[in-house]
């Protein structure tokens, strides 16, 4: 009965457009009060306690720092320089530009932690270039929307940070290491249909006639950007930095490159950068804080056990449950971002993962891929929304192309089910 109040209210509030955090907080408050009617303050003092406790975690500091890194690099003009380098390496020819777009999205993913931000950064540079080379806009928007989804998988990823905060035993470095291989695989998997579709439909024939940038100058220009993922991941790997420290070093490195090397960031932009990063961090942190209350309600009102029992006892079996999760997460991935999804579902799904004795690091990567797929599944996916807005096409027009990318992403997921080592091998080797 109280479970019904909690979930029913939550879903109803979300559907009418209540901010996610508020929907979780209010639903939790109602459920807590109903089950503590005879207690002092109806047991609601747990609300501020959990609000405070959810935010008062030192590892969480990595989140605003990586948001800041993303905001800085997004404005530093590193995207266009990476594009130049990629073209210089891969050459000109039909089918190359889509591959370049995916490659650059992956590299940017290694710097920033935000998919839609990458969609905007890559889209801003690539869409014009791709139209000029003769690629239809819906195709370009599909490529960019899909490739930006890799971001939540390739470290540093804000979604993975949040997962590791929710799951004891899956540390941030372990999650980052685990996301790397599947992230690269995801990128390569997207390149295959991008290249083949371009060839088959004779798109981008004009590309071969466009000038090819010289290799060495492009490399020199782009090396400042290329060094960032090395600094972040290498510094963490070498044990030099904690994730938070790696992020803050990248912040100052990015500011240095933007202000003194590329000269794309002026004093005036600094305020806007800090303000926007502050607001974006706050938007996430408010959900984190209020989701803490929701998670508290879930666990203290013993609502999770019956759900776990119902699912594990349903006779679906391990793979049936995984398939069910896939459908569920793709559906919510269409309307919600990865961080919110994790905050809602990870507390619910953890006992199921423990029941089947799934590796929690592997499980985190699986969930992330499922959400990533949802983020470019038409008709309402977030990343597609961004890239379609830049390209000025309707999301429906992308469907015939996006389906191929979804198929490719599905293969990655399948590969991860068959070979869990794809996710677990790196963290083991690196000793996290």
């Amino acid at each position: 009965m109280i479970g019904l109040v909690l979930f029913g209210l939550f879903v109803a509030l979300m559907v009418i457009g209540t901010p996610i955090g508020v929907a979780m907080g209010l639903a939790a408050a109602a459920a807590i009060a109903l089950s503590n009617l005879d207690t002092l303050w109806f047991g609601l003092l747990a609300i501020p306690q959990n609000f405070y406790a959810s935010l008062g975690k030192y590892p969480l500091l990595a989140l605003p720092m990586f948001v800041l890194v993303g905001t800085i690099f997004e404005r530093s003009g590193v995207a266009s320089r990476l594009v130049n380098l990629a073209i210089a390496i891969l050459g000109r020819g039909p089918g190359v530009l889509p591959v370049v777009a995916i490659l650059v999205a992956m590299l940017l993913g290694g710097i920033s932690g935000s998919g839609p931000a990458t969609a905007a950064a890559v889209g801003g540079v690539m869409l014009v270039a791709m139209s000029r080379a003769g690629y239809p806009k819906p195709f370009s928007a599909s490529v960019i929307g899909a490739s930006a989804a890799i971001d939540i998988l390739i470290p540093p990823s804000i979604a993975l940070i949040v997962y590791s905060i929710l799951v004891p035993g899956a540390s941030v470095p372990a999650m980052f290491a685990a996301g790397l291989l599947p992230g690269l695989l995801f990128g390569v998997a997207l390149m295959v249909p991008a290249f083949l579709l371009a060839r088959k439909h004779r798109m981008g024939d004009a590309e071969a006639t466009l000038p090819r940038p010289a290799f060495w100058p492009s490399l020199r220009e782009a090396s400042w950007g290329l060094a960032a993922p090395v600094l972040i991941l290498g510094g963490m790997r070498a044990g030099l930095f904690t994730p938070t420290e790696a992020a803050v070093v990248a912040v100052f490195y990015g500011l240095f490159v933007g202000m003194f090397i590329y000269r794309t960031i002026g004093m005036r932009d600094l305020f806007a950068i800090f303000r926007d990063a502050g607001e974006l961090s706050a938007i996430i942190l408010i959900v984190v804080a209020l989701a803490g209350i929701f998670a508290y309600a879930l666990s203290t009102l013993s609502l999770i056990d019956p759900i776990t029992a119902a699912i594990t006892g349903s006779g679906l079996g391990e793979y049936g449950v995984l398939a069910l999760l896939l459908l569920l997460l793709i559906a919510v991935g269409m309307v919600l971002d990865g961080v919110s999804i994790f905050l809602i579902f990870v507390p619910l799904l953890m006992p199921i993962a423990l029941f089947y004795e799934w590796d929690l690091v592997w499980f985190g990567v699986m969930l992330t891929i499922m959400v990533a797929i949802g983020q470019f599944t038409p008709p309402i996916a977030v990343n597609l929304m961004v890239s379609c807005r830049i390209a000025n096409v309707r999301i429906e027009e992308t469907t015939r192309w996006v389906l191929w990318f979804l198929l490719a992403a599905g293969m990655v997921l399948l590969a991860l089910v068959i070979f869990p080592a794809l996710a677990t091998w790196m963290p083991t080797v690196l000793d996290y």
């Binding site: 979300m14 559907v15 009418i16 457009g17 209540t18 901010p19 996610i20 955090g21 508020v22 907080g25 209010l26 303050w41 609601l44 003092l45 609300i47 501020p48 306690q49 609000f51 405070y52 935010l55 008062g56 975690k57 030192y58 969480l60 500091l61 605003p64 720092m65 800041l68 935000s114 998919g115 839609p116 971001d151 939540i152 804000i158 938070t244 420290e245 803050v248 912040v251 100052f252 305020f271 800090f274 303000r275 990063a277 502050g278 607001e279 961090s281 706050a282 938007i283 996430i284 942190l285 408010i286 309307v335 919600l336 971002d337 990865g338 961080v339 919110s340 983020q375 977030v382 807005r389």
Partner: protein, 173 residues
């Protein structure tokens, strides 16, 4: 990988619309959150440098960093509420008729105000405990209520911002 789910063109309140602009400028929140963000970055960076060059860590800054992060979440969150930038699902609302959309928007704003009013009142109660029992912070050793008092204070600010937004949303009809 987080974004606003809102599409800028469909945003009911724009920052530049004179009719819907809050009377108390949002620049207050903007400057405070930019400042908090910069302070967080500087403090964390200073921590790295100090640890490297002196082999000492100033662990006590952890307490301040966490406090600043909470303040950042509430202050910048307040601005984001006034601008309606918080993450929400707009898919279903956008499929409603215009006047229903406006009504839903008002209702949602009022519900959000309720959430933060609850938080303000209850957290004030906790601050009272901190003061009464004279709790001391574990890191720096200052009275705990120096930190905890900001939760009710800033939650009240958010509540007022949301009520202001609710009034402005009503004015337009």
């Amino acid at each position: 990988m987080v974004t606003q789910m809102t599409e800028p063109d469909s945003q009911p309140i724009s920052d530049n619309d004179p009719k819907t602009k809050p009377r108390i400028p949002l620049a207050i929140e903007d400057y405070l959150s930019a400042g908090a963000m910069a302070a967080l970055a500087l403090m964390t960076f200073a921590n790295v440098l100090v640890r490297y060059f002196t082999d000492q860590s100033f662990a006590w800054t952890e307490e301040l960093s966490i406090f600043l992060m909470i303040v950042l979440a509430l202050v910048a969150g307040s601005g984001a509420f006034a601008k309606q930038h918080h993450i929400r699902i707009e898919f279903f609302v956008q499929r409603c008729k215009a006047h229903n959309q406006r009504r839903l928007n008002q209702a949602v704003t009022l519900l959000s105000a309720l959430m933060f009013a609850i938080l303000a009142v209850l957290s004030a109660r906790l601050v009272w405990d901190d003061i009464q029992y004279g709790d001391i912070s574990p890191g720096i050793g200052v009275p705990q209520w120096w930190y905890s008092i900001w939760l009710p204070a800033l939650a009240s600010v958010i509540t007022l911002r949301l009520l202001g937004l609710w009034v402005r949303l009503g004015d337009r009809s």
